[in-house]
């Protein structure tokens, strides 16, 4: 076989394997976790690959609470860190997700969603953790939640998750579902330098001038790695610019608003969507994760039959990509929201739609993916 032309490295990989590839490309050097189906392959492959990289540290912790605790510590010590889990483990992590938001620790949490609640359906897909990813931990907090629908996107979105975590000094949650994580597909490994890799800001002032939670133009304080000679106080209590607990309303207000501002003012950079045939769409579909792939086939088939259908695939779930969805709602006579839960993302669609058009949901919670024919049927019934 004459294979003359030079090709990029291609591998036949699971979604979970692609997540690991993405993490290593992004510069992840620390992983702490506890294995759980359907995310276990991430941990397995990390255990094999990470110790072989320079400085790579892999830890199996006693549970998911410890896993995220270790990840936060390593992150504040200057590492790019990741942990992966599924529903039950994600519930355990909620307390530390709030802590990570409060101490502004850059890190990536992968949650491969399985059927719930509780132990539920370990080997079946679901999208039931969407609102938990946004609001699972207590207190007002900004957070970034990303999603991926195919294997190549798993790699790409993991790199983006690390970049956003470092750039905005925030935990980023990558929500996958069992189908995406356990699909094998041919993917291309990017050449070095193909993806832009962002690093966190570090202090440029001498230690005695350093204020660990000082406001900056971007609202993102530089991170002094623990042990680098900068005095850093870390606490889950609401803190002042020096990192010490405060009760002063003016300081609390400033700190809270800065935390939100650092995400809010970069919505354009964070809200990612993929639009497919939406220009002339009379029927719009908003989907994410593996269901977006079903929707894409349904759109192709419906177009063959003459229905003007378009699809928005959400790559960023939160902050919710309002501008794209509103634009679709203004031109479509109906929006369909298929998802493997009882209607968690459709709440957001209805919220931004604000009565502009009809929003219909397609829900499935039986541990099976929504098929293209189900979506096609709903399209024909609009």
């Amino acid at each position: 076989m004459a294979q003359a032309k030079k090709k990029r490295t291609e591998i036949f990989a699971l979604g979970n394997e692609a997540v690991v590839e993405g993490a290593l490309i992004a510069g992840c050097t620390f992983y702490a976790g506890y294995p759980i189906t359907p995310s276990s392959e991430i941990m397995e492959i990390m255990a094999a690959r990470l110790p072989r990289t320079p400085e790579g540290v892999f830890l199996q912790m006693e549970d998911e609470i410890g896993s995220l605790g270790a990840a936060i510590g390593a992150s504040l010590a200057g590492r790019k860190v990741m942990t992966a889990t599924s529903g039950p483990g994600f519930s355990l992590m909620q307390e530390h997700i709030g802590y990570a938001c409060m101490v502004e620790s850059p890190l990536v949490i992968v949650n491969v969603m399985r059927g719930g609640p509780s132990t539920g359906l370990p080997t079946s897909p679901s999208q039931g953790d969407v609102q938990q990813a946004r609001w699972g931990t207590h207190g007002d907090h900004p957070i970034i939640v990303l999603s991926a629908s195919d294997v190549q996107e798993c790699l790409e979105m993991t790199v983006r998750a690390f970049n956003m975590a470092e750039k905005y000094r925030t935990p980023v949650i990558l929500l996958l579902d069992e189908v995406t994580a356990h699909t094998r597909e041919k993917i291309f490994l990017p050449e070095p330098g193909e993806y832009e890799i962002l690093e966190r800001a570090v202090p440029s002032v001498p230690p005695e001038w350093f204020k660990p939670y000082e406001d900056t133009a971007r609202g993102v304080p530089p991170v002094a790695p623990i042990g680098a000679g900068y005095r850093t106080h870390i606490t889950g209590l609401t803190h002042d610019p020096m990192g010490y607990p405060t009760q002063r309303p003016d300081e609390i207000n400033t700190a809270m608003h800065r935390m939100f501002r650092k995400i809010d003012q970069f919505f354009d950079d964070i809200q990612l969507v993929d639009e497919f045939l939406t220009e002339d769409a009379e029927i719009g579909i908003v989907a994410y994760g593996s269901v977006a792939r079903s929707a894409r086939l349904a759109v192709t088939k419906a177009r063959e039959r003459g229905y003007k259908v378009g699809l928005i695939t959400l790559k960023t779930l939160f902050p919710f990509p309002k501008p794209s969805v509103v634009a679709l709602a203004r031109k479509a006579k109906c929006i369909l929201v298929p998802e493997m839960n009882m209607g968690q993302m459709s709440r957001e669609v209805k919220r931004v739609n604000n009565g502009a058009t009809r929003v219909r949901t397609i829900n499935r919670v039986d541990g099976s993916i929504i098929t293209p024919s189900e979506i096609l049927k709903s399209i024909t019934q609009v």
């Binding site: 036949f12 359906l121 195919d150 094998r184 597909e185 894409r296 192709t300 098929t371």
Partner: protein, 210 residues
């Protein structure tokens, strides 16, 4: 016939491998998928479904093979169903397309829902002829390779070698060859609907039949 094999045009060829946990179904799906994606250059998605039990229970791997990027990664209407257990045969037969092919392990499936099927006693063959029942899945791979007009023997064997540790490669290649030979003897050619062009993907490889 040109020296360079032409890739057969495929539009969502859907295939399901099903049976019991422990039969090596997902490994089989992984090897078949790797060979078709990397060796043959098709777009392939392979998904899997299994129960929460550590062993036993049902197991299946679904593959979609296409010349174009694949949107929906799972299967809806099967072109080929491989059933290695009675339970799997009963459960998935209804997903076959009207022209779809049913392939069963006759040593495991006593009652087929139709008498139009391709059957070989794979488990018995693996036990008696190869002497190692664990080679069952690669034996099936050999038979599937014969049936798929777009699958090349040599590239499939290469994928087997890459996927398995050196210690068990030889015996598995033996199983692959046996599966391929038996299928050629008993199954006949692939259904005409699967052959779009006269020129098959691997016409040049037929000559090296062992």
């Amino acid at each position: 016939m040109s020296k360079k094999a032409k890739m057969q045009e495929l539009n969502r060829f859907e295939l399901r491998l099903s049976g019991l946990g422990g039969q090596g179904i997902i490994t089989l799906g992984k090897i078949l998928g790797t060979a078709l994606a990397l060796g043959h250059g098709y777009y392939v998605t392979q998904t899997q479904s299994y129960g929460p039990e550590a062993r036993g229970g049902s197991s299946r791997a679904d593959l979609v093979i296409s010349s174009h990027p694949i949107s929906y990664p799972k299967t809806e209407n099967l072109d080929l169903l491989v059933a290695l257990s009675q339970e799997a045969c009963n459960a998935y037969y209804r997903y076959l397309k009207p022209n779809g092919v049913l392939m069963v392990d006759t040593s495991m499936v006593a009652n087929t829902p139709t008498n139009v099927y391709k059957g070989l006693p794979f488990t018995t063959l693996a036990k008696d002829k190869i002497g190692l029942v664990q080679t069952l899945n690669i034996l099936v791979l050999g038979a599937v390779t014969h049936l798929l007009p777009f699958a090349g023997q040599r590239r499939m064997k290469k994928a087997v070698e890459q996927a398995l540790p050196p210690k068990i490669q030889e015996i598995n290649i033996k199983a692959f060859n046996l599966g391929h030979r038996e299928a050629a003897k008993h199954f006949g050619d692939a259904p005409a609907v699967w052959l779009e062009a006269e020129e098959m993907a691997d016409a040049e490889e037929d000559t090296e039949h062992v």
